[in-house]
Amino acid sequence: MRRLSRVDLFKIFLRAYYIQGSWNYERMLNLGFCFCLIPVMKKLFSQPEERISFLKRHLQYFNSHPYFASFALGATAKLEEQALIEKWPDYRPVTVFKERLCGPLGAIGDRLFWGMLKPFVAMLGVIFTLQWGLVGPAIFFIIYNAPHIYLRYFGIMRGYELGFDIVRELSKRKYERYIHTISVLAILIFGVFLGWFTIDKLYPTVRLMLQFFLVALATFFMLKKELPMFLPIMFGLVLVLIFSMA
């Protein structure tokens, strides 16, 4: 009986970097997901009918956060293998399982990576660039990509290991802990930087301090009101013009 090897899982890992390549409004990540699992099809199925059925079931709707999709890829690979070994009468559980994973994978990934880690690391990068120039971009790149690449690899391996049970691994409460820790750390570092920056750079000139806090507060309140981003940017630039003319 054919089984997936670590090399096959590694092939999925490499392909997963392109999972969003054909993102579309109809079935979102479907083609990307199918593309990532083609090594599984080649390994497990040799009959044309089996291959047709495999391709069709993985071209159905799928959506997720791109990094967290790794969990779904690993678990689906496992289920495909399991279904073949245990001779399941049909593959409907695989399709349903994939559909059910879309929500949690998207919600956790978007909040953890796009909503927390990315802004946090970007803020660190900007602070380091202000202080030490080119060190900032390097810090930004390394600190962000270490957990990113690890998660992509871990997701596939863990998904393959657990199969259906991956659902337990993706508990929202577990990730809420990380999100809370990052947000506290971020606001603390933000505060330290703000305190230091105000005393060291702004305090000598009242006008600069006024300009900085006026723009920062206006941005904060505009974004809270869900106004588009170009408004605070334009407000900041108009203030530059006014202060320069004055």
Partner: protein
């Protein structure tokens, strides 16, 4: 104003790579201004301007998340165009640097918002690839299904590359005459622009992290930061 052809080719390629990294492939964030702008600066002989642009633009576009089918401004491409135009205008014209930066920043914002429309178009066009992939799947042709996906990746590359190159072209044609009619005798200090846009960026950070639950950490942090600044 002359611009060498190799520079345009480089802009085309970098724009394509940035377009890919933004959503279609990798997402390792080298499309972000903090990395792409200094890289462009280094490549075109003005690392300082590149780093300056990366610093002030990095935090601006984080608010609009690339989630699901959301339309978000193409901030990465806008920043790339801004940096390239700033460097080129600085090297080839005699306009004051502050005015150049101010004008290209506004132009970059317009490019970012224009780009969001073209993303929607690209994602709609990708449906054609899905239909073709369905047909190939019916015939069991996995290689051709994979090709359809890779065409989507190529599509994203070309989208980023064309958007960048065309925006740079429009900017090079429109901005010098515009700078000519502006009151460039008034000095705009770069320090002022940096401060204002950093303030916008930190406003965005406050939007992300500040909540009723954790404002106490902000006060605590400000205290530590102020103390460190006074004592070190």
């Amino acid at each position: 104003m002359g611009i060498m052809i190799w520079k345009l080719i480089a802009v085309f390629l970098i724009g394509g790579i940035v377009g890919l990294d933004t959503t279609a492939a990798w997402q390792m964030l080298f499309s972000h201004p903090l990395i792409s702008c200094p890289s462009v600066g280094w490549l075109f002989g003005d690392l300082q301007t590149g780093l300056f642009m990366g610093l002030i633009l990095e935090l601006l576009w984080l608010k609009d998340l690339p989630v699901g089918g959301a339309r978000f401004p193409e901030g990465n491409i806008g920043s790339l165009v801004t940096t390239f135009l700033a460097i080129t205008l600085k090297q080839n014209t005699t306009f004051p640097e502050g005015w150049i930066v101010l004008v290209v920043l506004i132009f970059g914002v317009m490019v970012a918002y224009g780009g969001s429309q073209s993303i929607a178009l690209m994602r709609t066009n990708n449906i054609i690839l899905i239909r073709k992939a369905d047909r190939f799947a019916d015939q069991g042709k996995s290689r051709k299904v994979a090709c359809m996906h890779l065409l989507g990746v190529l599509h994203a590359f070309i989208h980023g590359a064309l958007l960048t190159t065309m925006s740079v072209g429009v900017g090079l044609v429109l901005l010098p005459p515009l700078l000519n009619i502006l009151p460039t005798n008034i000095t705009i200090p770069l320090q002022n622009i940096k401060l204002s846009l950093l303030a916008v960026g930190f406003g965005v950070m406050a939007y992300f992290f500040l909540s009723r639950r954790n404002w106490i950490y902000l006060i605590f942090g400000i205290g530590i930061g102020g103390f460190l600044a006074l004592t070190i």
